[in-house]
């Protein structure tokens, strides 16, 4: 597998440094590790938002640090949750009197590491809490699984909770808004080619020339099932039907996020979006706004996910609020 890297064990740090150098007035890296924070510390009266996870999802999460979104993003090794001490350094660097809210994607490792970091913060009298994003409808949410995964919908949690925090809301209020987004956001994804973790050197799964994997997550893990590849519209319909069956979107306004997995040309994402818009109109779902691009990637996986967020007046207003980050501006 060819990759534009220098050394396997330098991937994460050089990525974070490169990101920060792309926006030196807005971002900085903490010396203690791969932790990205805003260049200027935000006012003391604002709740600080911390997110993070394994690397390999760029621009998530460091690209969403900035006004109106995150205060800090902690990058672990590729596809590996950051460790509690790294997360704790991030929390300490941005903590305010108002407290810290961590936005965690629902993976066993991420949840455990963030919980340990929050325990460490509480020991030092930092007010810290967390929400767990679980928007992936491909995974059954039942007693018999770890629950649905957190995927591209996390970006909308960053956006909206970030706007709420910027308004000066309390930790409890920001958490409630983040949870409202989580309750109303659903995602499903697929892949036509896998991705390779640099340290592993081999793809996470193999796909034949005529195969696709439906229901993949964002870590190169296999999806729910494998099928013969179909036309784009048909694939998009499969994903949309699963999302629309999960919560009632009819008659509601939604934000649509067509997310590329890393190696999907925008051309193809627009082809998907062309179908999604028409299909939603037919289903009586009103599109308030649409985002098309690479927001939550899976290294060089080719594929996409569709995310729908059901809006109410509060979420609409916060979605429209100002954001100024390397990967999302509004």
């Amino acid at each position: 597998m060819k990759k534009l890297i220098n050394a396997v064990d330098a991937v994460e740090e050089q990525m974070v440094l490169g990101l920060v150098k792309s926006a030196p007035k807005k971002l900085k890296k903490l010396d203690c590790g791969n932790v990205v924070v805003r260049a200027e510390k935000k006012p003391a009266e604002k709740v600080a938002l911390v997110s993070g996870g394994g690397s390999g999802h760029e621009p998530a999460h460091g690209g969403f640090v900035g006004e109106g979104m995150l205060d800090c993003a902690v990058a672990g090794a590729v596809f590996t949750s950051p460790t509690p001490d790294q997360i704790f350094e991030g929390i300490k660097a941005v903590a305010t009197e108002q407290g810290v809210l961590c936005i965690v994607k629902n993976y066993t490792g991420d949840v455990m590491n963030f919980e340990m970091a929050i325990d460490m913060a509480s020991d030092e009298d930092i007010k810290a809490d967390h929400v767990v994003v679980n928007d992936d409808v491909a995974v059954k949410d039942s007693l018999y699984t770890t629950g649905r995964r957190g995927v591209a919908g996390t970006i909308l949690v960053h956006k909206i909770a970030g706007a709420k925090a910027e308004e000066g809301a309390t930790l409890e209020e920001v958490k409630a808004t983040a949870e409202k987004v989580i309750a109303n956001v659903r995602t499903m994804g697929m892949a036509i080619s896998p991705c390779t973790v640099p340290a592993a050197g081999k793809p996470g799964f193999e796909l034949g020339e005529d195969e696709m994997e439906i229901g993949i997550g964002i870590h190169g893990e296999p999806g729910t099932h494998r099928e013969k590849i179909a036309q784009a519209d048909e694939i998009a319909k499969t994903l949309l039907e699963k999302i629309l069956a999960d919560i009632d979107y009819k008659g509601h306004e939604v934000v649509v996020l067509i997310n590329g997995m890393g190696a999907t040309p925008l051309m193809e994402l627009y082809i998907i979006n062309n179908f999604v818009q028409d299909y939603l109109a037919k289903e009586g779902v009103k599109v308030y706004d649409t985002m098309v691009g690479n927001y939550m990637t899976s290294i060089e996986m080719a594929g996409f996910s569709i995310t729908l967020l059901r809006l109410d007046d509060e979420l609409k207003k916060l979605y429209d609020a100002k954001a100024d980050t390397p990967a999302l501006k509004r």
């Binding site: 394994g54 672990g76 090794a77 590729v78 596809f79 590996t80 949750s81 950051p82 460790t83 509690p84 001490d85 790294q86 993976y107 066993t108 490792g109 455990m112 590491n113 340990m116 491909a138 995974v139 059954k140 007693l143 018999y144 699984t145 770890t146 995964r149 973790v197 340290a199 592993a200 081999k202 996470g204 799964f205 997550g217 870590h219 190169g220 893990e221 296999p222 729910t224």
Partner: protein
């Protein structure tokens, strides 16, 4: 009696075993997880090895706690907090001790398992490391209770862990990333149960 030197030798043996089985563990994880179990554990234990010289003059509790903290801060993923907590809890159980009786050794293993259950909110039978560790701990205690030497009892524990690991091939994962696969996880051996078996084997080899 197990002294601090022996404990350090055991940790070194675990580190070597994990390094040599790194690719196999990663391959197992590729099948039902995200393919980084071996890579992450090897990275963690390599940094533990570097830290061990600084722990040599400490008591066993402090050594194990140091190993745990180092794992938590270097492994990442789910196995970092789980194995890290296991060593930290084992350390707690051996607080201030410079020598362990056979019973102390069993208590430390029991405390480690308690830590994994607590951190992972998991029980035996969910296709995790607990499926190797829990039967091993029972076999160890039974062996000691029936008057066996530690080496003999630990050998029985390793056998029980191997059986437990084999058993993970037949059950559905309900915890961790493999749970997303549902029934498709059947037929695959759990990487966590496998690394747990390796650790017990490495400890046995030191006796």
């Amino acid at each position: 009696m197990i002294d601090a030197k022996k404990i350090i030798a055991m940790v070194e043996a675990i580190a070597k075993k994990i390094e040599s089985e790194k690719d196999f563990l990663t391959q197992l994880d590729n099948e039902i997880g995200d393919g980084d179990h071996g890579i992450n554990l090897a990275r963690g234990f390599k940094s533990v090895e570097e830290k061990l010289p600084g722990l040599e003059d400490k008591d066993i509790g402090a050594i194990l706690k140091g190993v745990g903290t180092q794992l938590v801060s270097t492994v990442g993923g789910a196995s970092g907090p789980l194995y890290g907590t296991a060593f930290m809890k084992a350390g707690n159980a051996c607080k201030g001790k410079t020598e362990l009786t056979d019973a102390d050794f069993a208590s430390a293993l029991e405390a480690a398992i308690g830590g994994i259950k607590m951190r992972g909110k998991a029980e035996e039978g969910e296709k995790t490391m607990l499926d190797a560790l829990c039967p091993a701990c029972r076999a160890l205690k039974e062996g000691l209770d029936s008057g066996k030497e530690l080496k003999e009892a630990l050998a029985a524990a390793v056998d029980a862990a191997a059986k437990g690991m084999e058993h993970t091939k037949t059950i559905i994962a309900t915890k961790g990333r493999a749970s997303y696969l549902g029934e498709r996880s059947i037929g695959h051996q759990d990487p966590g149960a496998t690394s747990s078996l390796y650790m017990l084997q490495a400890m046995l080899d030191c006796l």
